[in-house]
């Protein structure tokens, strides 16, 4: 019996965002956009979904006069990410 893959993570862009945030303390919207190559609109929607699942925190603030959105992975997000990778490994090994 295969373990069920987390539907929140099983999407290309959301998975890329989680993989990126797993390796840093936090990252701002522009950096995530640059690294994933996503459009602002799509990225914004996916970030909201990850945030609603409690996998990331989203902090909206200002850098000087410009608005700045900073994202960071939560403990629950890290745990879900680890479980997702374990599940993937099981899929591949069988």
């Amino acid at each position: 019996m295969f373990p069920k893959l987390d539907p929140v993570l099983h999407s290309e862009l959301r998975l890329a965002v989680m993989s990126l945030l797993a390796g840093v303390e936090s990252a701002d919207f522009t950096y995530i956009k640059q690294q994933t190559g996503a459009t602002s609109g799509n990225l914004s929607v996916q970030i909201d979904k990850l945030s609603a699942a409690g996998y990331i925190t989203v902090e909206k603030g200002f850098k000087g006069k410009k608005p700045c959105t900073t994202c960071a992975i939560t403990e629950a997000g890290m745990e879900a990410f680890r479980s997702y990778i374990e599940a993937l490994k099981e899929y591949i090994s069988t």
Partner: protein, 202 residues
């Protein structure tokens, strides 16, 4: 997405992210290297022209100019908190080096002000230079270890041992030209390190 594609995406994103963060770190090596080279040459020229060793106090302007500049670059690229383990270790190493180097320089100044013996003053200057270059070499070598780069490891070792060699070769004779040469060399080594880091992580 298949399981394989998902794992490949995770690996690729993580690798690209690690490379980008390390590549951005290279910028700070170049910045500090340019400043170090500039100040070495400036102090050397002023010291040689006027004969006053007090020009060495200009060294304290290096962190005063360098720190806000580094902070400005970080703010400009929006990476204040975008760091990984390697970049944090490297920042820690160089921050520790900066604190140790400035503290040693301060102690030397206090010591030389309290001790009127000119030979002791020169000896203190030489040993301070040797100590700073040795610390620099250690920081550079540990950076090479963290980045798994042999060129940086060797450059750090050569510069650090250069500091020790300086101490034994010129001893109490002074030799400010040799001291300034070592500082200039250290600056060039830093710039080269930054360029290597940036090239390696393109």
């Amino acid at each position: 997405m298949t399981a394989k594609e998902s794992l490949a995406l995770i690996t690729e994103t993580m690798n690209n992210n690690r490379k980008e963060i390390t590549r951005r770190g290279g910028k700070y090596f170049v910045l500090w290297g340019i400043l170090l080279t500039f100040f070495s040459l400036l102090v050397y020229c002023l010291w040689k022209t006027t004969g006053h060793a007090e020009w060495n106090n200009l060294w304290f302007a290096l962190p005063i100019i360098g720190c806000p500049l580094a902070r400005w670059i970080r703010a400009k690229e929006g990476s204040e908190r975008t760091g990984n383990t390697v970049s944090r270790v490297i920042s820690g190493i160089w921050a520790t080096f900066g604190v140790f180097a400035c503290s040693s320089a301060l102690f030397t100044i206090i010591f030389t002000k309290c001790n009127p013996n000119p030979i002791a003053t020169i000896a203190a200057g030489v040993s301070m230079t040797a100590l700073i270059v040795l610390l620099f070499g250690m920081a550079e070598t540990i950076t090479g270890v963290a980045l798994k780069n042999w060129a940086i490891k060797i450059a750090g070792f050569v510069t650090g041992i250069g500091g020790v060699a300086l101490y034994y070769i010129i001893g109490e004779k002074g030799g400010f030209e040799e001291q300034m040469f070592l500082f200039t060399l250290s600056g060039i080594v830093l710039v080269a390190t930054g360029l290597i880091v940036r090239h390696q992580n393109r």
